[in-house]
Every structure is written in structure tokens, then in C-alpha cells.
Point group: C2
Chain length 226, copies 2
């Protein structure tokens, strides 16, 4: 491989650090606006995501108006009350203490959507796994999240809203699927561990318990077959 | 923000280059094995993905045995014949000319799965958007893809197999969802444009046509509301 195509140890370390230090941010957003040039770079990273059949099924709705943010926040409040009622006892108390969105504080919100019919009904690579175009759109979200971290922008994925509310508030047509609503902005620092881990909601699982060899559930290494 | 938490212009450029130069690779894999330490770093990047409710719903099945690769390749051949029949005329001819998998040539295959019931039926953040745990798993796939690129490893996502075949060949239990089958290995170079773009299958869409302001379909910038 030519030198130009490979990554130096320093470059590789930056990429791993970005992946490790990306956090789901829902608090401590600074009011400082996100310059259009920065947001443009972040969206370009999303658009560089892999997509099944090179479909590029995504759209990006950039939200800055206070009225839209208020409407989305109200939809969160409704959904979150329903969600809190699904937990019991100490878990419900802990749930209610968590800060799970930053929809009014973040200077920019971004809704990433998937247009499933963009290239007609038959899509290369989606013929046998029908969700592939949705998965492509999630890859774009993760690219956006990492690019934002590289720009020192915090991103939080807010999923406690009904899809019907998202469709209504953002005028998303019936045939378009809202995939992610993100709050984006500069923060004064990034936490070193996920909020939910620090709050005692769940622990980080050991990676070695999640890796199998050759088939699901098998942990003994197999002799290499190639 | 402290200096330590932010990314230098050089680091940021490396992250953007990784995102831009990631390709979906299904050909030209070198037989050189992927060292365990390298694969471990790539899987750690996957495990660092965001997950709804900090669920970490993924497992990683590492496949190196030739027999498993042959079985997966046979499943691809069956599905691909069905898929080719869905296209017509020149499109069918073009489809049949494409190389859409590298399952026998890649030294390592990786299946990434999602265990939807890992933390019981009620999951924080999944109460109103039921697919969030699947989306988390796709974020892990994209982290793996980018980390692999930083390691100069090519990755191809092979989706032209039936889920039933994946379950059977990899002994994946009924309640676990296979999300991605990846072929992974060193390559002698990375293409500068996607294979499907070069083959004339689809063009890259202009980003500006995909970005809306405040609501779906609106392109005129709104006055800032915050």
C-alpha cells in the first residue's frame, strides 16, 4: 500500500481516541453557535457513510428555531412520562433523576431520516435483508457523531419521543422514516465515562464475554482454517 | 475545554480522512493474516459504540475456518441468483457483472449480532422507538469499519444472504438478530470512489440537495431562533 493511503501511528491514535472519547451528551451545552462551515463538515462526514446499493437514503434536517425545539421538548416530556411509568421502585426513581435530552439547550438539533423508496422497490443489497437502507442511515449518524467529537462538539441521540410526533413537528412525509434526533453543541468538557454508567444504570460489559469464535456461543479458539 | 480533550487540526484531519477513505471492499484481499492484537483493537472500537440505555446489545462472531466461509459463500450464491432475477435488461446484466462479496478470500469474517432482550423487555430509550437497540449495533459496525480503515484493513458488508442461512450456519439463536456479516482483510490499495459509483450503478448525490432547514423539504434558511 502506498504511504499516502495508510495511516501513521499518530493518525491512527487520533481515530481511536475519537471513537473512545465520543460521549452521548445531553447536558452542559454552551450557547456558542455552531458555525455553518463546521456543521457542513460534520454533515459531509454523514454523507460519506456506506450505503446499501450506494442508495444514500438519508436527509438531514437542521433545526435552530426555538419554537421547533420547544415543540420537540414537549414531545419528549410526554413520552418520558410514559417511559418512567414502565420502570418500578428504585429503578423508576433513578430513571426520573436522569437527564435524557438537551433539546432546548443545544444550539442545533439535527434529524436524520431515511427515504426507503429512493431508488424504487428493488435495491441492490436490500433484496434479502430489508432493513439495510435503515442501517446505512445509522452509519451516517455514527459518522456525524464521530466527526462532531473531532470538532469538539457534543452530540446526544434523543430517542424518547414518538415517531408520530417527529413526523408532525418536522413535517416528515409518511413514507420517510425518522431515524435519529440529535442535539449538537459545544460543551465545556466531555465526561470520561457514559452518563448511564456513572449514574449506576448499567455497567460496561467485558469485551471478551461478547466475542465468539466460528459460531454463536463458542469461546474456544478454533484452528485457523485459511 | 482542556487541551487534552480537544483534537488538534492534524488529528481532526486524520479522522476526516478515515471517514472519507473508508470503502466497502469485496475484492483484492491479501492472504496475510490479521493479527489478534489488531483484530482486538478493531473489536474494542465496536464495543465503544453508543448504545441505547447503555445496553451494549452486540456480540461479535469471528470466523476463520474455511468450511464456515464456504457455507456462507454458498448461501450468498443462492441469494444472489434470486437477487439478480429481480433486475431487468441492462440493469440485470450490470448486476451480474458486479463483485458483491469476498467471503472466501478475506482472512477473517465477522458477524455482528444484536441481543434484543439483553436487559429485559423495558429498555431506557427504547420505549418509544423500538429499533434503537438494533441501531446501536449498527453504530458498532460503523466504528469497526472506521477502526479497520485506520489499521489499513478493508471491510465489506455482505448483505445478500438470507437471515435464515446466517442463523443456521453460525448457530445464532432465534432471539438474536444478525445485523452485519463483514469480510475483513488487508488489501493492496483502497479505491478512491465506491465500487458501485465506478461501475455506473448510481451516482453520488449532491449533499446540498439532502439538507433541509427546520422541517422536511424546506431549503430556505430560517432566521436563527436561539
Amino acid at each position: 500500500m502506498s504511504r499516502d493511503e495508510s495511516f501513521s501511528p499518530e493518525e491512527r491514535a487520533a481515530i481511536y481516541r475519537c471513537i473512545a472519547e465520543r460521549r452521548d451528551v445531553r447536558r452542559n451545552f454552551l450557547p456558542e453557535p455552531v458555525p455553518d462551515a463546521v456543521l457542513g463538515r460534520v454533515l459531509s462526514a454523514g454523507h460519506a457513510a456506506p450505503s446499501v446499493g450506494f442508495l444514500q437514503p438519508w436527509n438531514f434536517i437542521v433545526i435552530r428555531a426555538a419554537a421547533t425545539k420547544e415543540a420537540l421538548h414537549a414531545a419528549f416530556i410526554r413520552a418520558n412520562a410514559e417511559a418512567a411509568a414502565m420502570f418500578e421502585d428504585e429503578r423508576a426513581t433513578l430513571y426520573r433523576s436522569l437527564k435524557l435530552e438537551g433539546l432546548r439547550e443545544a444550539p442545533v438539533l439535527l434529524c436524520v431520516t431515511c427515504e426507503r423508496g429512493r431508488a424504487g422497490p428493488v435495491v441492490l443489497g436490500r433484496t434479502h435483508q430489508s432493513e439495510m437502507d435503515v442501517y446505512s442511515t445509522v452509519c451516517a449518524v455514527q459518522n456525524i457523531w464521530l466527526a462532531a467529537r473531532a470538532e469538539n462538539l457534543g452530540v446526544g441521540w434523543v430517542s424518547i419521543l414518538s415517531l408520530a410526533d417527529l413526523h408532525a413537528i418536522l413535517a416528515i412525509p409518511e413514507h420517510i422514516v425518522p431515524i435519529a434526533l440529535l442535539c449538537i453543541g459545544y460543551v465545556d468538557h466531555f465526561e470520561t465515562t457514559p452518563d448511564l454508567e456513572r449514574a449506576g444504570w448499567r455497567k460496561r460489559l467485558p469485551l471478551e464475554e461478547l466475542v465468539f469464535e466460528e459460531e454463536f456461543g463458542r469461546r474456544d479458539p478454533m484452528p485457523a482454517g485459511d
